[in-house]
């Protein structure tokens, strides 16, 4: 669960995984506290209030001084030096392809002390996500940047990362990068030019909507002291206006201009920096302006109506409201809502649907209803309180929907952070309609075309990825042991299949895993047995049933199925998912007749029988031979005698004498569990380049327990 080599389930997450960490402010979930943090920094920043005051003072001083003759020049030099240092340190990493910068520093409108420089780091093909180079790059960035607080908020440690190999495969490129690149606002600080064509030069509606969502998120998560400065809000309003302008929404532009003029007057930026702002009021007015975008786009453009049928376990349409077959939201989600002390005007349980047309893996899995809370007023305070409550009480994977000021948000808790993500009313039109109890929705034509094209490109990329990982584990350059988290792998596949069902006709909302399997079994009747076993395996991993289906090749077949399903194949061709391989069991023994009898007896109890048992007698002088002969009637034993006592030589002898390709070793003082060989078989069937499969060694308690025995039980077999 904790390793990160190039496994498919990790890789397939890429479709929607945030390629950058959220800002590291007070709402950024559980802060990653590493021991790298010095005692000094812990003491200094123990109190958020002290920290924010200090930051405010430093910033204020810089803003004031930068207006005074030579100081302006000095701050420019400080910025430039910081920039050079960050770039110089980052480019030392072998995998970095290029580094881009963006911000008012480059366009001349920089207010030193307040303005940030955003970095976007492009990682080349030699540094894919599976190699983990980006963690090192991130750490370097964090370390260097803390010395240059003026390059932005000094607790902002996140850098935006782009993985070139993923973009080349067809996964969506960071929207902020695409928009800025098209508008010519990106400055290449180091490296080669960006090698991928970004499509039409004009920014699209979808890209601008994604920019708007990012602005909304910034407005909500940015804490003090920034949020208490008028300048922070004015900059947000200006960015929103620029966004509206770039897709020629004239009415919205006028509205923003008027509102901005009313709120901020004609004060210069330096003065606005020191003016106190009321975030609650400003945020409300900001959200109202954002909500004006879809209305104008809808007026301007005809819509496409998407009709969905709902399928749950019975295959019956049950509508938006969660049916009895769905599990209730987790208790921790309810606890979050309670702890946040927001009083929703409405609270409802909905059947889970994919969020938008793009493949989504996060947030709301099948089988569990989603909770949607509607908040009457005070969106800013309520959502921030919800985030804080989620950070304290949420469990990993928790999520809930919140509607405030007409915008729907997902508040979620991931492994390492808590986040709020706004859902755009047009991009995620299906969620808005679903909350209102409707299964049908409309989307503007251009946006629909853009989203479906993106979704099919992404599905193609995922299919390529499944094909690449089918029967082959890409080898990481660092030594590591590979372990597949089957629950995650199958769960992700199910999420993708749910998304796939809403982009292709007839569009279906598959709200339970049974519905997913039924839907695809109807579409591809020939592979019904495979899908049934897949569901059974998934249910085993979720703890719903006690036994796994005997299907050693299930994992590879899942890859084959996904590869074909994602490209919209009409028929699916799979290997036999029951296919296995012949296994020889190898045991080395020397003068342990009693133990050996027990070991051989455990082999007889295996659910998957061994095809051969090679026992090497390493010069025994007791009744070992007799024990082996006694078991020979019940097990296909082959006896080999090696007079010279040498364990490695005996093991080589087993490998030489074994008639099958895979040899599973155990010892004479061990007992194997009944599912032992099933595990071995499954391990080797996963991929052709899996050379060694290992498992877990548990304690076999002695009949008369001693302290040594207890010790082995607690601490045994963990050589580090």
């Amino acid at each position: 669960m904790t390793h990160r080599p190039a496994t498919t389930h990790r890789r397939t997450r890429l479709a929607t995984e945030r390629t950058h960490a959220p800002p590291d402010d007070d709402l950024r979930g559980r802060r990653i506290t590493t021991t790298a943090e010095t005692l000094g920094s812990r003491l200094l920043f123990a109190l958020p209030a002290a920290r924010s005051t200090a930051l405010r003072l430093v910033q204020g001083l810089a803003v004031l001084l930068s207006g005074v003759g030579p100081f302006g020049r000095m701050f420019h030099e400080v910025y430039a030096f910081g920039l050079r240092t960050v770039v110089a340190r980052l480019r030392r990493h072998a995998g970095v392809h290029s580094i881009y910068g963006c911000g008012s520093f480059f366009d001349g409108g920089c207010l030193y002390g307040h303005s940030d420089i955003d970095f976007i780091i492009v990682l080349g093909e030699s540094a894919p996500r599976s190699e983990g180079v980006h963690y090192e790059v991130g750490r370097t960035y964090e370390r260097v940047r803390r010395f240059f607080p003026f390059l932005g908020r000094w607790d902002e440690k996140a850098a935006n990362l782009i993985f070139l190999d993923e973009v080349q495969a067809g996964f969506p490129l960071l929207d902020s990068f695409r928009v800025r690149m098209k508008q010519g606002r990106l400055v290449r600080l180091w490296g080669e030019p960006f090698p991928i064509d970004l499509g039409p030069a004009r920014v699209t509606t979808g890209e601008i909507f994604s920019e708007c969502d990012a602005l909304v998120r910034t407005a909500l998560v940015t804490g003090e002291p920034q949020s208490h400065s008028q300048l922070f809000w004015k900059r947000l309003f200006t960015k929103l206006q620029a966004a509206a302008q770039s897709i020629e929404l004239t009415e919205v532009v006028e509205k923003i201009r008027a509102e901005s003029g009313r709120l901020f007057g004609t004060h210069p930026d330096r003065a606005l920096f020191f003016q106190w702002a009321a975030p609650e009021r400003l945020c409300t007015s900001f959200l109202r302006l954002v909500a004006a975008f879809p209305a104008e786009v809808r007026r301007r453009e005809e819509g496409v109506t998407l009709r969905f049928t709902v399928e749950d376990a019975d295959g019956t349409a049950s509508g938006a409201h969660a049916s009895v077959q769905l599990a209730a939201p987790r208790a921790s989600v309810e606890a979050v809502l309670h702890a946040a002390a927001v009083e929703p005007t409405h609270q409802r349980l909905l059947a889970p649907v994919p969020l938008g047309l793009m493949p989504q893996l996060f947030y709301f899995p099948a089988d569990r209803s989603m909770l949607c809370a509607e908040i009457g007023g005070g969106a800013y305070g309520s959502i921030r309180r919800l985030l804080q409550a989620m950070r304290r009480h949420g469990a990993a994977g928790d999520a809930l929907l919140v509607r405030a000021e007409g915008i729907v948000f997902v508040v979620s808790h991931q492994d390492t952070y808590t986040d709020v993500v706004p859902l755009h009313p047009l991009v995620h039109a299906n969620v808005y309609a679903w909350i209102d109890g409707k299964a049908d929705c409309t989307m503007p034509r251009s946006l629909y075309d853009e989203q479906t094209a993106e979704a099919s490109r992404c599905a193609g990329a995922l299919a390529t990825m499944y094909a690449r990982h089918e029967g082959w584990v890409p080898k990481a350059s660092v030594p590591c042991v590979y372990r597949e988290d089957d629950l995650d792998t199958i769960g992700n596949a199910f999420s993708m299949l749910r998304s796939l069902a809403i982009v292709s006709e007839p569009r279906s909302y598959l709200v339970t895993t049974t519905a997913i399997v039924d839907h695809y079994a109807r579409r591809y009747p020939a592979i019904r047995p495979f899908l049934a076993d897949l569901l059974a395996d998934f249910r085993f991993h979720r703890g719903l049933v006690d036994r796994r289906p005997a299907a050693p090749n299930l994992y590879r077949c899942l890859h084959q199925f996904m590869r074909q399903a994602l490209t919209g194949a009409t028929t699916i061709e799979l290997d036999d998912h029951h296919q296995g391989l012949a296994i020889s069991v190898g045991i080395i023994t020397r003068n342990r007749a009693t133990d050996l009898r027990q070991a051989l007896a455990s082999l007889e109890r295996l659910t998957r029988r061994p095809d051969e048992v090679v026992v090497v007698d390493n010069g025994s002088t007791d009744g070992t031979r007799a024990v082996i002969e006694e078991s020979a009637s019940r097990l296909p034993i082959r006896y080999v005698f090696l007079a010279e006592p040498s364990i490695p030589r005996a093991r080589n002898l087993v490998i030489e004498h074994a008639s099958h390709e895979v040899i599973a070793f155990t010892d004479d003082d061990c007992a194997v569990d009944p599912e032992w060989l099933t595990g071995v078989e499954r391990g080797f069937m996963r991929a052709d380049n899996i050379g060694i499969v290992g498992g877990w060694v548990l304690h076999w308690p002695a009949q008369e327990p001693t302290m040594v025995d207890t010790y082995y039980g607690l601490f045994h077999h963990n050589k580090l």
Binding site: T666, A671, G691, N718, L720
Partner: protein
């Protein structure tokens, strides 16, 4: 060398350790014939550490991958008494240096293994170095280093300084014995377990250091922790 990325899910950070620790034990290891042939079979000189050795070679090969399967479980009998246990641990330790030396990797790899989280939390890697120095330092080692310094000072007659340093070692020892305290045994049994644990560590670490030096590497293994394992059904 082989690591199951010792990452806490809550940390979410992967360290690309060049030197890790061994994961698969010989009594529960399955190998593909072709893999064994390609990486050169078991090393007949590496008795008792042949499993470490073959895994090291597989993991460093350009093709072969090591995989852990959750269902593949065995139960292993313990050694009968303290002497047999110490002989077993000595045997493991004394031969551990050979696989490390055989990799041909040189450099200094220092890891701090946190006794509470049971994972590596800090590490230093210096690659341009003529020999291999690989250490997994835990509270157990720190406590012993301090006690050693205290003993030297005491011999030299600096009694007060010696006492002070010996006192400094106490919190480290206390932390090193955390797993023993948490075993949930009675007071006397806890003391007994602590004794066994202490002797096991001492035997294994000393053997590994001596065995490593014989092969020309400086190897300092971590003290033994309770293993992380998935929860499985209790034995029948």
């Amino acid at each position: 060398m082989i690591i199951e990325f010792p990452v806490m899910p809550s940390l979410g950070v992967v360290h690309r350790y060049r030197m890790g620790y061994f994961a698969f034990s010989n009594n529960n290891l399955a190998i593909r014939k072709r893999c064994a042939a390609e990486i050169g079979m078991y090393d007949s000189e590496a008795s008792t550490s042949e499993d470490v050795d073959i895994c090291f070679r597989a993991v460093r090969s350009p093709t072969w991958v090591l995989c852990r399967e959750v269902d593949m479980t065995i139960r292993h009998k313990a050694r009968k008494n303290l002497g047999a246990m110490m002989r077993q641990l000595w045997g493991w330790g004394i031969k551990l240096g050979r696989p490390y030396a055989k990799t041909g990797v040189t450099g200094v790899y220092l890891h701090w293994v946190d006794s509470v989280r049971h994972t590596i939390t800090r590490h230093v890697e210096i690659e341009p170095f003529p020999w291999l120095v690989c250490a997994f330092v835990t509270d157990y080692h720190v406590a012993h280093a301090l006690l050693l310094v205290a003993a030297v000072l005491a011999v030299l007659g600096h009694l007060w300084s010696a006492a002070l340093i010996a006192v400094l070692a106490v919190p480290f020892l206390w932390r090193a014995l955390r797993d023993v305290r948490q075993a949930g045994l009675g007071p006397w049994e806890t003391v007994e377990l602590a004794g066994v644990h202490y002797l096991a560590n001492l035997t294994f670490i000393t053997a590994a250091v001596i065995g490593g030096l014989r092969c020309g590497v400086l190897l300092l293994p971590a003290s033994v922790f309770p293993p992380h394992r998935p929860t499985v059904a209790p034995p029948e």
